[in-house]
Structures are given as C-alpha cells and as structure tokens.
C-alpha cells in the first residue's frame, strides 16, 4: 500500500489560513490502513484545526477511495458550500480530487512517503518504486532498485557490513539479504551474470491497454 504521514500542524495551519469554510476528507484505502488519513485521523485533525480558529466552519467526511472518480463524485454535494477541501489522501488522492474540483482549493494534509508495508506496529518500510521493470524473480523477492540505498543492480557495494547498509544501521543491506535468499533457494548462480543496464521508463507514467478501452 501507499504510506503517508501527516504534515506538521504549522504547515497545515498556514495552508488553510486564507479559508474559513473547509471540508476535511479522509480516504478509506491505504491512508486508513497506514493510520494517516482514516476516520480517526480526520476526527483529530478537525478538532485541532477548530481549536485554533474561531471563525472556521468545518465539516468532515470519508470516502472509500480518493483515487477513484466514482467515490470522489460523492463529494460534489457535500463540498458545495466550502472554499477548500483539506484532503487526507495520498498525493494521488489529492490530485484526483483537485482534478474533479478545479475551482476549489484542494490542499494536502499528508506527506506521501512510499509504497511499502507495515513492518511492525508503528514502522513502515519502502518496498517498491514502481520502476516498471520487475526483477524480483532474480533477486529472491527483494527489490534492490528500491531497498538498496544506491539502487545497485550488481551489489552489495563495499559499504555493506554485518548485514547493515552503510547509510544507516536501521537499514538492512538489501544485497546481503538477496545473497542469503538466493543461497537458501539454491540459485546463487543468478548472481554470476551481470544484470543488464536498466531502462528507466519515461515519467510521468502512462499505461494504455487497448483491449480494455471502449470499442
């Protein structure tokens, strides 16, 4: 899922300062699961905003997914009397909402971090950067493009020590994990061949599938 964290309150307050009618909206997908933009967080953020501003007219709500037009549609009615929408969606959600309401100010309450997993309670780690060319079959299910600090395709570099990355003791060396993973699976030979130079896909990404387009 996509992982995000709430922005600093000072920044949020500064963003919403020019507006007195604000609709705060959370997202029922990733943002709820990573405890950044679910019902609880919407409630808390609304409370804090109200506490600082007496002039504020604020309403709050949730939609199942902010990245889907059919759910965003539900905001049409609800946000009619509001100048600004404060979104607790990921960057994707904020933009989708902004696209639907070009005449309103749509503001991000979160900083989107990465595609990752909840490693343990209160700890999330990045797993995938959506590079467009998956090599996980060759790397024991561990992505070096994302999880090696240098994105090396032929690692580990000389900074790998006792299973840790040179960048931080908190980061495991992805290549060391790949090495032991391949060894466990009996396919260490995969490391012998040099990995071809990566073709980085053009960004912004665009995926077209003809068979799914309306005929």
């Amino acid at each position: 899922m996509i992982i995000a964290k709430q922005k600093d309150m000072t920044e949020i307050a500064k963003m919403v300062a020019p507006y007195s009618r604000i609709y705060v909206v959370g997202c029922g997908m990733c943002m709820t699961y990573c405890s950044a933009g679910g019902p609880e967080e919407v409630e808390k953020l609304a409370e804090r905003l109200m506490a600082g501003r007496e002039d504020l007219i604020l309403e709050k709500g949730m939609i199942p997914r902010q990245c889907s037009e059919k759910f965003i549609e539900r905001l049409e009615e609800k946000t009619r009397d509001f100048e600004a929408i404060l979104s607790l969606g990921c960057g994707n959600g904020v933009q989708a909402v902004a696209m639907r309401f070009p005449d309103k100010r749509v503001l991000p309450a979160l900083d989107t971090q990465f595609i990752g997993i909840e490693k343990e309670s209160g700890l999330w780690t990045e797993m995938c950067m959506a590079c467009g060319d998956c090599i996980l079959w060759r790397t024991a299910g561990i992505c070096p493009v994302t999880r090696c600090a240098k994105g090396l395709l032929n690692g580990p570099c000389g900074g790998s020590q006792e299973g840790r990355c040179e960048v931080s003791n908190d980061i495991p060396c992805a290549w060391q994990e790949i090495y032991y993973g391949l060894k466990r699976l009996g396919i260490l030979d995969y490391l012998k061949t040099e990995v071809q130079i990566k073709s980085w896909s053009v960004r912004p990404g665009r995926l077209a599938r003809e068979e799914l387009k309306p005929q």
Binding site: S160, V167, V195
Partner: protein
C-alpha cells in the same frame, strides 16, 4: 597495450606498482593539486584524483587529472556513479581521453548522505560494474552504450575497487570476478589493516585464478593519529581496523611515527603475497608522508618504463 599509461606499462612489465591518492581542494586553486603532484611524482607510478570523495564537493577529478598530466604525472581519474547518469558519464569519458587521461577507476561512490549536501538526489543510473562494461565497450568497440559509433580512440586502462572487508565475505571474491568479467584491468582494494582476512581473501582470489586476470593493488592508509584510528574503526563504511592496531596507536609515544611504522609493516607483508601487484597509498590529508612510506618500504626509486 590497451592505453599505454605508465601504470599499465609498469604492471604489464611485471613490476610492483605504487599508486597514491591526491585529494583535490574544496576550491579553485589548481596550485594545490600541482603542489601535491610535485611532492608525490617521484614516489609513485600513477596518482588517483578522487571524485567528490565521501560526497563532499571538491574540484572535479577530471580537472585535477588534467593538472597532474601537465606535470608529466600519469593520473587515474576516479569516477563515481552517484552524481552522473549514463549521458554525463560517457561525455566525461570522452573529455578525459581528450585531455590525455589514460587510467580510470570505476566506483559506486559513498552515499550522498555522508557528504556536505546530504539532501542531494543520488543518480545511480548505473552501477559500478555496469560502468566497467560501458568503458570497456567504449574502448574495445569504439561504441557508446546505445551502440552508436564513437569517433576517435578511447584508450583507457580500466580500474575498479574491491573491498575484502565488507560482507558477506564469501561473496566478495565472486563480486570481484564479476568486475573482472565486466572488463577490469586493475583493482585497488580498500585499505588493509586486517591482514588475516586479506590473506584469506587473496587465497580465494588465487584459487579462482583472478590474480592472473587483473592486477591487484592493495590499499594502504597511513594512520596519522589515535583519533583517526578510532574513527576509522568505528565510523568509516567498509573499513575494519583490528583492535590491536588501535591499541598500538594508543600506546605509542609518537602516534604519527607509529602510523608510519604500521603502514610500512603492512606494505612489507603485502609485497610477499602472491598475486598482489602493487600498493595504493591513500594518505587522506597527509599526502606529504607518502614519499617516506614508499621509500622506507623499499619501493624507491620507481622504475622507468
């Protein structure tokens, strides 16, 4: 001869090579590089110019090399993949050759987080092994990565680093083999303090016949102070300093003298190891000690080839 650099001539003639490191200044004074060059030129066969080492912005390696070349020194241009994509890399290689640079060391580079611009975006478009492949193709086939032709020759003696002290240990020799397969001509290792581990590593290197396929130069760092010994033991990525060396530095009356002594002892041992074809002295911020270390290790005068 692939590049006919002094370093290549020394190594292919079977002589024990000495290279040293020259750190360029955090500024514009070419004089700093020239001064270091002048003080080191008679005690080594080639001089590496570092490429924004530890991700601290300094004068570029390519220009440092050009300054050394002007003094008749054979420079080794270091290049990290941290700061350049494949377009800039190939372009800089063309320029380097045009300036007379004939040796190049292909590196990943220390992560930008360690430097003085820690929030910089790291490039890492390719990795060090792929860089070796690119340079070899440019030299041997006169082709860019995309297959297009290069006008003119690209005579470069290709080097890379190897770290016998990083983990996993058993993979380190495999990775060296990968670099050699990719096209490396010489290797400069990380600084050696843990001789026992280096000997084990070299035994594995010889077992696979890798010492016959590339020239291995062992890395030496003269330790200047007790603080430096402790710092390297704890904080420098990829370097291991055994406790006994730290203790020797701590107990010495004159730490600098002890540092020189240790460096000379290590070189003496390395000279005896089968398959090691030279030393690479990285006297970080202590370049003026190099002539003495080289001389007292019995490696002077340097041969003319």
């Amino acid at each position: 001869m692939k590049a006919n650099s002094n370093l290549e001539r020394i190594l292919t003639s079977g002589q024990f090579a000495v290279t040293a490191e020259c750190g360029p200044p955090k500024g514009t004074l070419g004089e700093v590089v020239r001064r270091k060059g002048e003080s080191l030129k008679f005690c080594c066969d080639a001089l590496n110019v570092t490429d924004n080492q530890t991700a601290i912005v300094r004068m570029s390696s390519i220009s440092g090399c050009a300054l050394l070349k002007g003094l008749g020194i054979d420079p080794v241009m270091q290049m990290v993949v941290r700061d350049r994509n494949r377009i800039a890399i190939q372009s800089d290689i063309l320029g380097a050759v045009a300036l007379g640079i004939r040796n190049m060391l292909c590196l990943s580079g220390d992560h930008q987080k360690f430097g003085n611009h820690p929030s910089a975006k790291g490039v890492y478009d390719i990795d060090s092994i792929q860089l070796i492949q690119i340079v070899k193709r440019m030299r041997d086939e006169k082709k860019f990565l995309n297959g297009e032709d290069i006008s003119g020759e690209v005579p470069l003696f290709i080097g890379a680093a190897a770290n016998p002290f990083a983990d996993p240990f058993e993979f380190r020799v495999r990775r060296l083999a990968k670099k050699i397969k990719a096209g490396v001509d010489f290797i400069q290792t990380q600084a050696i303090f843990d001789m026992e581990r280096f000997l084990r590593w070299m035994a594995m290197v010889r077992d696979q016949g890798l010492d016959k396929k590339a020239h291995i130069l062992a890395g030496i760092i003269p330790i200047k102070s007790v603080g430096m010994a402790r710092y390297m033991a704890k904080n420098v990525a990829g370097i291991t300093v055994p406790k006994e060396i730290v203790t020797r530095m701590e107990q010495a009356k004159d730490a600098k003298e002890e540092g020189v002594k240790i460096a000379i002892e290590i070189i003496e041992q390395i000279k005896e190891i089968e398959g090691v074809h030279g030393v690479h002295v990285m006297a970080v911020a202590w370049e003026d000690i190099v002539p003495r270390v080289v001389k007292e290790a019995g490696l002077m005068p340097r041969p003319l080839v």
